[in-house]
């Protein structure tokens, strides 16, 4: 792993005042710009060692899948607004807490059916907050989405439903699911609140169908629930043959420019594109839309003809970058491949050169891969994704050469190697180098911080007849099989491991990096977290796969959970060195909320776990604060 010392002198960038004044945490990524920067001053590398766990709260909304309920995946970022901490839960409840004590102020139950309609687990990534600026009931609101596509609006002070919103406080978003509606919408990610507009994407079923609901972005009036506009991302003529390209993750907005930046996912079916060989320019893109009208202003497609399920996984982060004496309003879009695309957020023009490079071509029947794909020359990619890790000697040894044999047997010709009947290794895997956690940026100096996973996966396209024979006509995600129904191929997808379950590829399995956005230079990249298998921890140099993202503070500290080892950590932002950690019940797979309440700085993690990392799940929220003198 390349390590570069933090430069002594940094070019100071023009920080947006609003970003640098971040004391609250009013949305999934903290602010509309998704910088994940907290203006808290007291939390420094020298002080965080004294952090104390000041309270712990159990939502009670947790299931490990062993009983009647599906397992829960709780990736919520707590929202701090209105002097209150709001949690959304995977049982689709809202809980309002006193930030200082963790005492419950109120709770609201959506009474949503706890059924895994589109996902294998009950999932929630939190709530959204809006206020009108006026006094009175429901002038401050909390919004919660559900698995069955209801959007609930409740009063932020009392938890009572807001009767003037849609149908008595509940909006049925599935009413707009009327094309290729093979599955219902699910509202797992809270809407983005941009002024008085709620911007809403939805989640569907991955890997199941060829023809699926076409992705779109819905704009909803925050007060009435009225649909303001609806913009789709699949060309009309292709809708009978494909679908999705939806927005399942968080979004970003620039109210000054009047733009929302939508990370658009891949089209269906995810791993075979023979029925969608025509261009779908808005799929796997970051797309800017006019908040007022829904008109598409610009779009940047970072993968063409995506057959790797490399959805754009996270909200882009806004930052201003100096160029030739001018300050350029920019955004940074992290991708599942670990690339960072830095674009002028007014136009979508790249701010660093992007090369078109020849990529491996598919020999699968019906598939037509594109000859080139875009590769950013700068900034440095996260986790060295262009180099497939070597076979891990330890894993190879204990499996008597299984890993080496498979490396020879499976197809890998570099990034963008297509899925194949032979079996393809792909790196980074489908969960990505980065995912919904995205990146954090210190707007004062333009330094970007990001965790990245380094997971190699194996995928095989299975001809339909063989697939149905293996899966008795059906098939599900649990064992790695997924049908891609009505396409010629089902898939088998799994991590590349030996018979003992030990990864076949060389560590590190996860890294943490800092990048100077003015130059694109990698400042450091260090192993992050500890992998854990059957309770046994790996060595620190091995790092850990991660889900969730970092927060950087004005005091020079990065807070992050995300790792397999169920630790929440503080890192010295200058070096990536761990300066504090605490053991929690499961991996904290979201983003911590870092805010100032009544003059004191708090760090709050929602600890939910995710079976992608390990089986443990939890309903724990924990808050940390420096000791009072």
């Amino acid at each position: 792993m390349k390590k570069i010392l933090f430069p002594a002198a940094m070019i100071l960038l023009s920080a947006q005042t609003a970003l640098a004044q971040q004391d609250s945490w009013t949305s999934f990524h903290g602010d509309l710009g998704s910088t994940k920067f907290s203006n808290t001053q007291s939390l420094t590398p020298d002080t965080v060692g004294d952090l104390e766990r000041v309270w712990e709260y159990r939502t009670g909304d947790v299931a490990d899948g062993s009983g009647d309920l599906p397992e829960t995946v709780w990736s919520a970022t707590p929202v701090y607004a209105n002097g209150t901490l709001y949690l959304g839960t995977p049982f689709y409840r809202i809980i309002a807490l006193d930030p200082a004590t963790g005492g419950e102020r109120w709770s609201y139950d959506s009474e949503s059916a706890l059924e895994p309609l589109t996902q294998p687990a009950l999932k929630n990534r939190g709530v959204a907050y809006w206020e009108s600026g006026q006094d009175g009931a429901c002038e401050k609101r909390v919004y919660l989405g559900t698995m069955d596509a209801e959007l609930h609006a409740v009063d932020a002070d009392t938890g009572e439903r807001c009767a003037d919103f849609a149908d008595g406080g509940v909006l049925n978003v599935n009413q707009w699911n009327d094309v290729n509606d093979v599955f219902p919408f699910s509202l797992l990610q809270p809407p983005l609140v941009a002024g008085d507009t709620l911007l809403l994407g939805w989640a569907g079923m991955d890997w199941e169908y060829s023809v699926a609901p076409p992705g779109n972005l819905l704009a909803i009036d925050a007060r009435t629930g009225e649909l303001l506009w609806d913009t789709g991302f699949i060309p009309e003529e292709l809708i009978p043959r494909t679908g999705t390209a939806n927005i399942w993750t968080a979004m970003t907005a620039d109210l000054d420019l009047g733009l929302v930046y939508a990370p658009v996912s891949s089209p269906s079916p995810n791993y075979w594109g023979g029925d969608r060989t025509d261009p779908i320019p808005l799929a796997t893109s970051v797309t800017a839309l006019d908040i007022a009208t829904g008109e598409i202003v610009w779009s940047f497609q970072h993968i063409r003809h995506d057959i790797w399920d490399y959805d754009t996984p996270s909200a882009p982060s806004l930052v201003d970058i100096p160029r030739d004496g001018e300050i350029i309003p920019a955004l940074v879009q992290a991708t599942k491949q670990g690339f960072l695309f830095v674009l002028d957020r007014r136009t979508g023009e790249p701010l660093f050169p992007i090369e078109e490079r020849a990529v491996p071509q598919s020999t699968t029947q019906g598939e037509v891969t594109v000859p080139t794909q875009p590769f950013p020359t700068l900034p440095a990619a996260l986790g060295n994704p262009e180099q497939l890790p070597d076979v891990w000697a330890l894993s190879d040894l204990v499996s008597l050469g299984q890993c080496s044999r498979e490396r020879e047997q499976y197809l890998y010709e570099g990034m963008f190697t297509p899925p194949s009947e032979q079996g393809t290794l792909f790196f980074p895997g489908t969960a990505g180098a980065t995912n919904w956690g995205g990146v954090a940026i210190d707007p004062r100096n333009g330094i970007l911080y990001a965790n990245a996973s380094r997971i190699v996966q194996f995928i095989r396209l299975i001809p339909r007849a063989e697939y149905e024979q293996i899966n008795d006509g059906g098939g599900g995600n649990e064992e790695g099989f997924s049908p891609q129904a009505d396409s010629p191929y089902g898939i088998y997808l799994t991590d590349w491991s030996n018979w003992l379950g030990i990864p076949c590829w060389e560590p590190p399995f996860g890294t943490f990096s800092a990048i100077d956005l003015a130059t694109g230079d990698l400042l450091y990249e260090v192993p992050f977290g500890m992998a854990q298998f059957n309770g046994f921890y790996g060595l620190r140099d091995w790092g850990s796969p991660t889900l969730g993202g970092p927060v950087v503070t004005a005091g020079g500290v990065v807070f992050i959970g995300a790792s397999m080892d169920s630790r929440v950590r503080a890192l010295d932002a200058a070096t990536g060195e761990e300066v504090w950690s605490d053991l929690v019940e499961a991996p904290a797979v979201s983003i911590p909320a870092v805010f100032t309440h009544e003059g004191e700085d708090y760090v709050v993690f929602a600890v939910g776990g995710n079976s992608i990392l390990k089986p443990e799940v939890s309903d724990q929220a924990v808050a940390y604060r420096l000791p009072r003198d």
Binding site: N534, G535, F536, Y537, S566, L583, V584, E585
Partner: protein, 113 residues
Amino acid sequence: MDRIFFPALLLSVIGAILGLIAFFGPFGNTGVDGTVGAGLALLGSVTITLIVIIVMIWQPLGGWRLTLCALAMFAAFLTAIAAFFLMQYMLAFAMALAFFVLIPLMINGRRHP
């Protein structure tokens, strides 16, 4: 009862208690509670305790004593390694101490007819 084994017994009982705590987490999350690894560490520490008790009560000499002590040492070694990678450092320390305490007892046993 062969009292010379009391230190080993004490360490192995402490190890078994720490193994129980690691596996069941009665005082809170240990980071490994309920895992296969913690189960193996618990099994190892309990095995050492049982072997030491057997040796103390039965007081075997010669080959039996040597074999049982060697088994207990082997279990202590593996459990210490396991506990280290489970980040249960007190358990690892107890098992490492038990390993070293058992060495002279095994050597001592070889001198009996």
